[in-house]
Symmetry: C2
Subunit: 230 residues, 2 copies
Amino acid sequence: MEPTDENALKPIASVDLVVLALSEHGLQVLLIRRQADPFRGAWALPGGWIHTDEDPDLDAAAARVSREKTGVETPYLEQLATFGSAGRDPRGWSVSVGYVALLPADEVAGRAAESTDTAWHAVTGDGVAVPLAFDHASILRAGLIRLRAKVEYTSLPVHLLPAGFTLGELQAVYERILGRRLDKSAFRKRIAEVDFVEPVPSAMRRGSNRPAQIYRVKPGLGTAFFDRTI
Amino acid sequence: MEPTDENALKPIASVDLVVLALSEHGLQVLLIRRQADPFRGAWALPGGWIHTDEDPDLDAAAARVSREKTGVETPYLEQLATFGSAGRDPRGWSVSVGYVALLPADEVAGRAAESTDTAWHAVTGDGVAVPLAFDHASILRAGLIRLRAKVEYTSLPVHLLPAGFTLGELQAVYERILGRRLDKSAFRKRIAEVDFVEPVPSAMRRGSNRPAQIYRVKPGLGTAFFDRTI
DNA sequence: GTAATAGTGTCTCTTAGACAATATGCT
DNA sequence: AGCATATTGTCTAAGAGACACTATTAC
């Protein structure tokens, strides 16, 4: 059962990230133009080899890639699924562990202009307008399915907002990802039920209208799950 | 970014299976006693290296391992999560893609007696009574969490039953895994709603009571999702 | 008949969903 | 005042959950 020559049978192992953020124009995914073969010049998800000499585990490898490619220290990171086959990389049998990363809207602008080889691309339906290297279109599709599924019944979308946000802004995020309007009253009932945000004392968003209370995520809580759906 | 010596940095890659079945005594997981170091003599989840020369992809590798270790051709197989770290295998940085496999109850008896090194172990809470090799306790725990979560809102438990079953038997499976009683009337309403089973014409389960209609899964359907929860 | 389980029906209390009313700042 | 958005309240139709009733077989 154990191979005689271990190294010969070892697949290539890497980590690929679906980095998502929400701009005024909708959901955006961070893509990198490949500098090297294979697929030189094509757009790809940010990713990299697992560094067995420096990464203690998979999550650390994903965090390192995220840091190297996006500059953001600790975005929300969640393992998505693993893609492995003989044909997905022309260099040989390869395994890629896919991760989903969510970035707050206010981090997006800075990252986009950094390099001509790194750019945010608008998500349309279940993909992007440009072709992607490897099987990255599949990984992206899986990431979008995961995000949209979890938006229905978890507090995940808070990670697409800055640390302080109003309930109106939070509702807008849900609506943008789900692609449908939500009832304000029902929405607030759900948020109050699961109790994962708290008002920031005397912090208000002001405009030419009634000021809105600013909320933040309650510290020490993970992702909250709704009883039913949002 | 690309390592100079690829093989030196390649992690070890394997597939591990959480093979579950439901007996009269509750949920059972298939374990194998390790014949070789490391962890020689310890119980472990059935697993094996990815064979880059014969497995076309990860699902095929999992199916092969399942076939080799359980003898069952096509159980329900679902990718669970991937576990990778420097320390989980003393031989070096390793990646294991975990899968959940569900077996019909009528397949269980035959497999158990095959070998003294292969045995069904009762699941108690979130694990088994014996210690497991590697980080297999974590993988098992993740598999159980996945199963229990999906039982709440999907038709997954049908895979724990033989091809033909009564609605009473199906309800019993849900109740056993969830650990709580379900209302018969409400249960049947849900099953009718999602419409994933059909009666087998004139097939009846007989006993010292009113005979029960035997149902089967509608062909060509994947896992069905309930609107809310079961 | 009795026992046992299958299968269907009814009733009530909760609540999701739609809609409306009020509150509060800015210009 | 008028506008825009925040925040809270009300009403109703739908449905979940609890419970009960009828059906059909073996013995």
